[in-house]
């Protein structure tokens, strides 16, 4: 009777997730959201999101006004892992969002857009972990990964991977503000536009 469980679970979802599930039903969106998470490490199970940066775009336009960056306040216990990974949130003093606020706003922001990321599955996994902690389900948006797109386009072997820096070099994109969430999201957006032409 799995479907009963499913129905039951669904009823217990927080409000924001219910409205997200409603939005995502419409698959017609032409809008893309390129995003990137800065995290305390590379393991979604234990590491936390430090910041999320996102921009909205269409095939040929990036809307700066519609760009957003959330810096997430860190709890005591995961400052430990910051030390372990040697990554310190450079903007920790500016961190103003609780994880819940950040995720709520992010979900509202992306709506039914197609998500773009470099290694987008990792970023989605980070978001999904946070969603799980909030009692919500997993992201259901369509996804495009710039690394995969580039490999398909160039007929590279599947095992080979390309860094965002490498793609910037290939497509002649100026990569300042690297390694801030918003900066990377913006660069990913530009890479994506060139890839889909």
């Amino acid at each position: 009777m799995a479907w009963i469980n499913f129905r039951k679970n669904r009823k217990n979802y927080p409000e924001f997730w219910k409205s997200y599930l409603n939005t995502i039903k419409d698959k017609s969106s032409q809008v893309y959201v390129a995003f990137d998470c800065e995290t305390t490490g590379l393991n979604p199970k234990v590491d936390r999101i430090l910041s999320i940066g996102a921009v909205k775009l269409t095939r040929d336009r990036i809307y700066i006004k519609e760009s957003k960056e959330w810096f997430v306040k860190q709890h005591q216990d995961n400052t430990e892992s910051i030390k372990v990974h040697g990554i310190l949130p450079s903007t920790s003093s500016e961190a103003t969002y609780s994880e819940e606020q950040a995720i709520l706003e992010f979900i509202e922001y992306i709506g039914n857009a197609t998500l773009i990321g470099h290694h987008v599955n990792f970023d989605c996994a980070m978001i999904n972990q946070s969603l799980k902690r909030l009692g919500a389900g997993q992201l259901k948006n369509r996804k495009k990964d710039t690394n995969t797109l580039y490999k398909t386009k160039g007929h590279f072997a599947n095992e080979q991977n390309f860094s965002l820096d490498k793609l910037c070099e290939v497509y002649n994109i100026t990569s300042s503000n690297r390694h801030t969430a918003l900066g990377d999201a913006y660069i990913t957006a530009q890479v994506f536009q060139k890839l889909i032409l």
Binding site: D60, R61, I64, E69, L182
Partner: protein, 638 residues
């Protein structure tokens, strides 16, 4: 917290005008509104004639070509690179783009919304930038590199001054505008405005402006039923009125209208709201004043009420051409425009002249233009060459017709002189009884010229064979052409005369590829561009065209038709067209720059590059002359 991308855009923009006039905060705020546009190579940003976008563009990366399309050819006007601004047209109150913008490489653009930019228009640095943009009508007024200019130094010495004129000229406002007073009933004002055919009325108190009522106010307040028809004007008027001095320039007025988003300015004696009204200035006045707008010129001609009005428009045409030539617009475009505008101008001239006559013409007639005017190859003001042809009438009417048309011819010639075309020193004008004739008389005259040719008659033929009707709705012009072509048919002897006349000017370059300069006289050691370079092309085209019964008179059209008829020589004819355009452009620009006919060129002022360019342009002349020689068996003639 700052948006890092917007910050980066701001960092980029702040180095380029006009954004360098903004402070850091303003620049950042504007950057937040930017849309980043990615344009792959060959993709079009906007097309000539497209309605304008809500954004203008700054190139961040890559190159964008600005092109002008004329008929089937497209001409590169400019290439925009990093930091260049384009697409400012909407600020000029234009609704369509004047050029095409196309990505030369992959391009990244910052699209900046006008809405967000408008608040900064009152910054001094920014309005100055825009003023200069208006002036040069180009993307970057600070750019002095003169990209894409054909003949390097010569054309551009006076650039700044010459292009500015038409934009900084004073504007012609409407004097003594209709004024009403605050207590007047709305419906009465609306009726008066309708009767006068105006869209606005100033509200004044003892001739001091207190407000303005426009169609918009009537629509917004009265047509919506908010305010009753019987209410007072003061209930709906906009106040205060923006006032300006009578000496305001076109560009200043335009900027004010944009800044305040209004449609009218009140002109007062000293430009303040406390001084008496002298006139009103509307967007319409600006459009008319914009000399770079040929449509406005045509309209102004159509509306002209006197010869003086026409004179003014011819003046604007001159300024417009000057600006066009310096911005390196294609000469073919200039010629087309000038011809169209002249056509209207002369038509109007004829209308005024007929009106001045005590009675209507006794029979059909056509006013013909001759020589370069007929060929539409005159950009500079020259002397007038024209003639008049009228229907054959019965003998008892003949005398009356003769005297009527001669008188009309005199009036026409005077009107042209008033506009600025000097009278023809050789008296080739409709005011001369020799050239104001009936169809039969013309036939006799041409027969005399063609059948018993003399040096002088060949000279006359060269002028009179290029004729074009400017006024008269009939087929007299056609009939005259029939007569001429019938006379010329198979007349080898006359073609030999014509052909050798076309060769009277030796090729411009000597055996040693040196320029042949004048030996003596006022222009000693100067090169005669007209006689040695342009005339051989024009004359050559004429002889060949006549021999092939080609009826068009424009030199370029003649070459085009010839190329069609003789594909084996198409290459030669096409190179003649190119040379002709370039040489004409050169002559006209130097004429405008130095305020003379542009006929003589002082070789010492030419750079080496220009000289070799000129030599290159002369090449087809020599080939054309050899072709003429062999075709009409001319060797023994010359």
């Amino acid at each position: 917290m700052k948006n890092t991308i917007a910050q980066r855009i701001a960092d980029f923009l702040k180095d380029f005008p006009p954004f360098d006039g903004l402070n850091t905060q303003e620049c950042y705020k504007l950057s937040c509104e930017v849309e980043v546009v990615y344009l792959p190579k060959q993709k079009i940003l906007f097309n000539q004639g497209d309605s304008t976008h809500p954004h203008f563009y700054v190139v961040n990366q890559g190159l964008v070509d600005l092109k002008l399309n004329l008929q089937n050819t497209s001409k590169l006007i400019d290439v925009c690179d990093e930091g260049d601004v384009m697409g400012l047209r909407p600020l000029f109150a234009d609704r369509t783009y004047a050029m095409q913008a196309i990505a030369k490489t992959d391009v990244m653009l910052y699209a900046i919304p006008f809405e967000e930019f408008k608040p900064f228009l009152n910054h001094e640095a920014i309005s100055e930038f825009l003023l200069r943009s208006f002036a040069s009508n180009q993307r970057q007024p600070d750019d002095k590199s003169n990209k894409g200019v054909l003949l390097s130094a010569n054309l551009t010495t006076n650039e700044a001054e010459s292009v500015n004129i038409d934009f900084f000229q004073q504007i012609n406002f409407t004097p003594k505008p209709f004024c009403t007073y605050e207590e007047e009933a709305i419906y009465k004002v609306a009726r008066q405005m309708t009767d006068l055919g105006i869209s606005s009325a100033l509200v004044a108190k003892e001739n001091i402006p207190v407000g303005i009522v426009t169609d918009k106010d009537l629509r917004r307040h009265v047509a919506t039923g908010k305010i009753a028809l019987q209410a007072q004007v003061s209930d709906i008027m906009s106040t205060p009125v923006f006032c300006v001095e009578p000496t305001i320039s076109v560009a200043q007025a335009q900027i004010m209208l944009i800044q305040h988003q209004i449609g009218h300015l009140c002109v007062t004696q000293d430009g303040t709201m406390e001084s008496p009204i002298v006139g009103i200035l509307s967007e319409h006045d600006i459009v008319t004043a914009q000399a770079t707008n040929p449509m406005a010129l045509l309209k102004a001609i159509k509306r002209a009420k006197s010869i003086d009005d026409l004179k003014k428009t011819r003046g604007y045409l001159g300024m417009m051409l000057k600006a066009y030539l310096t911005t390196d617009l294609p000469i073919s475009h200039c010629l087309e425009l000038t011809e169209g505008i002249h056509q209207e101008l002369f038509k109007k001239c004829a209308e005024f002249s007929i009106k001045e006559m005590s009675e209507q013409p006794p029979c059909e007639f056509t006013w013909l233009f001759l020589g370069s005017q007929a060929r539409g190859e005159q950009l500079l003001m020259t002397d007038q060459d024209h003639a008049l042809i009228y229907e054959d009438v019965q003998d008892d009417m003949k005398e009356k017709a003769t005297s009527y048309f001669l008188k009309l011819g005199q009036k026409l010639s005077e009107a042209l002189e008033h506009i600025g075309f000097e009278k023809c020193p050789a008296n080739m004008m409709a005011s001369n009884p020799e050239f104001c004739l009936s169809l039969t008389e013309w036939k006799h005259l041409f027969t005399k010229w063609i059948k018993s040719p003399t040096q002088k008659s060949v000279l006359l033929c060269n002028i009179f064979f290029d004729f074009k009707g400017v006024y008269g709705e009939n087929d007299l012009e056609e009939q005259l052409a029939d007569i001429v072509f019938n006379l010329l048919k198979n007349d080898d002897k006359f073609y030999a005369y014509l052909g050798s006349d076309a060769l009277k000017n030796p090729p411009p370059l000597s055996f040693f590829k040196q320029f042949i300069v004048e030996d003596d006289g006022e222009h000693k050691n100067e090169f005669d561009l007209k006689a040695r370079a342009l005339m051989p092309l024009i004359d050559g085209a004429r002889v060949l065209a006549l021999s092939k019964e080609i009826r068009v008179v424009q030199t370029v059209e003649r070459f085009k038709k010839l190329a069609e008829l003789e594909p084996q020589n198409a290459e030669l004819f096409n190179s003649c067209i190119r040379s002709f355009y370039e040489l004409l452009h050169y002559r006209s620009s130097s004429g405008f720059t130095h305020q003379h006919s542009g006929r003589f060129v002082d070789l010492n002022t030419l750079s080496k590059h220009d000289k070799s360019k000129l030599k290159y342009l002369f090449k087809p002349i020599k080939s054309l002359q050899s072709a003429l020689k062999s075709r009409f068996n001319l060797t023994y003639f010359s």
